[in-house]
């Protein structure tokens, strides 16, 4: 019995898990939310809202929400070890800052 427990701990430890992964029902709910957000994104593309100044920011916000949901739930980063979070979020921040700097240098952020 001890051996089984130890092996289980080894497997969990090897994967760097801090908590249990989400359940099947959570995965299905996440899929429904992702589909709904994508549907809204495509819908606003065909509405007069596309001429609004809020069109681009709203699309970026919806995309960021989808990104965070997939990374948090499907990639289990919400439940995983903080080192994995650092390995992903660190380069992402550096890359995003580089992107903003390049857009600023080439005059895309001026209005």
């Amino acid at each position: 019995m001890d051996k089984v427990t130890h092996q289980g701990a080894d497997v969990a430890h090897a994967q760097g898990e801090q908590h249990a992964h989400p359940t099947w029902s959570t995965y299905w709910k996440v899929a429904v939310i992702l589909t709904a957000i994508t549907a809204v994104e495509v819908w606003v593309y065909y509405t007069p809202f596309q001429h609004s100044r809020l069109f681009n920011p709203s699309l970026i916000v919806m995309s960021a929400i989808k990104f965070a949901i997939v990374v948090g739930f499907y990639m289990h980063l919400k439940y995983d070890h903080k080192l994995f979070r650092a390995l992903f979020v660190g380069p992402l921040i550096v890359a995003a800052c580089t992107c903003l700097a390049l857009l600023a240098v080439f005059g895309h952020l001026r209005h």
Binding site: H13, A14, T38, F67, Y74, A95, L103
Partner: protein, 217 residues
């Protein structure tokens, strides 16, 4: 202790292979944001069409080029890729819960790693087919990688992503072959987890590309 969990610990107590895949994903973030940045910088700076969202009339021939992006097809392929991520997490959950008894038909379906790995690979192939259709139609409409800045940056960005999806599909098929040959069990959870992380990363990159390239004008 199984082969997959032995001799891979680091001083952090974490498995080196999982640290490796997260480091790889971090570096891939930088690669794709560089490609996306290039696309955004060149956006609207093409001297000749076809353009992504605008109609363009060629002054030398008088030929009218309509906006080239096909949003309905790309929306469908985006949905397909999102559903492939769902299939991938279900495949991982099936391998993790291999030893749990399955009493009902629903339990058996949810617990079949072969089914969900196959569905993931199939959806990945459907996504690639949509991309092949899109690329072919663009070439027929006069947009190649040499036509203008939009063509160069668009084909490079989406082509790199498509190459990653192709690698993912081949990886999934190799897992499927292993599953049919000897069956994936608890000792293979880490292998499937690493595959799943790669697949979800390809999905989140597409989430960004779909918004920044296809929807934002």
């Amino acid at each position: 202790m199984s082969a997959s969990t032995s001799h891979h610990y680091t001083t952090t107590g974490l498995d080196s292979r999982k640290i490796g895949i997260w480091t790889f994903i971090g570096s891939e973030c930088m690669l794709f944001i560089t490609l996306i940045s290039t696309y955004l910088i060149y956006k609207g700076r093409s001297l000749v069409g076809p353009f992504p969202h605008e109609v363009w009339k060629d002054p030398s021939t008088g030929h009218v080029f309509h906006s080239i992006l096909n949003i309905p097809v790309t929306s469908f392929s985006t949905f397909v890729l999102l559903m492939s991520s769902l299939a991938m997490v279900l495949a991982l959950a099936a391998v993790e819960n291999r030893s749990v008894p399955k009493r009902t038909l629903g339990d058996k379906i949810l617990g079949s790693s072969k089914l969900w790995i196959f569905v993931t690979a199939l959806l990945g192939t459907v996504f690639l087919s949509c991309q092949a259709y899109e690329f072919t139609s663009f070439v027929h409409e006069g947009l190649t990688i040499h036509t203008n800045l939009f063509g160069s940056s668009f084909f490079t960005l989406t082509g790199f992503h498509g190459a990653h999806v192709t690698v993912g599909v081949l990886w999934l098929l190799s897992l499927l072959v292993i599953d049919f040959k000897r069956g994936l069990n608890e000792s293979d959870v880490l292998h499937v987890d690493i595959m799943a992380l790669y697949w979800h990363f390809v999905d989140v990159v597409w989430i960004a590309i779909f918004t920044l390239v296809y929807l934002i004008k």
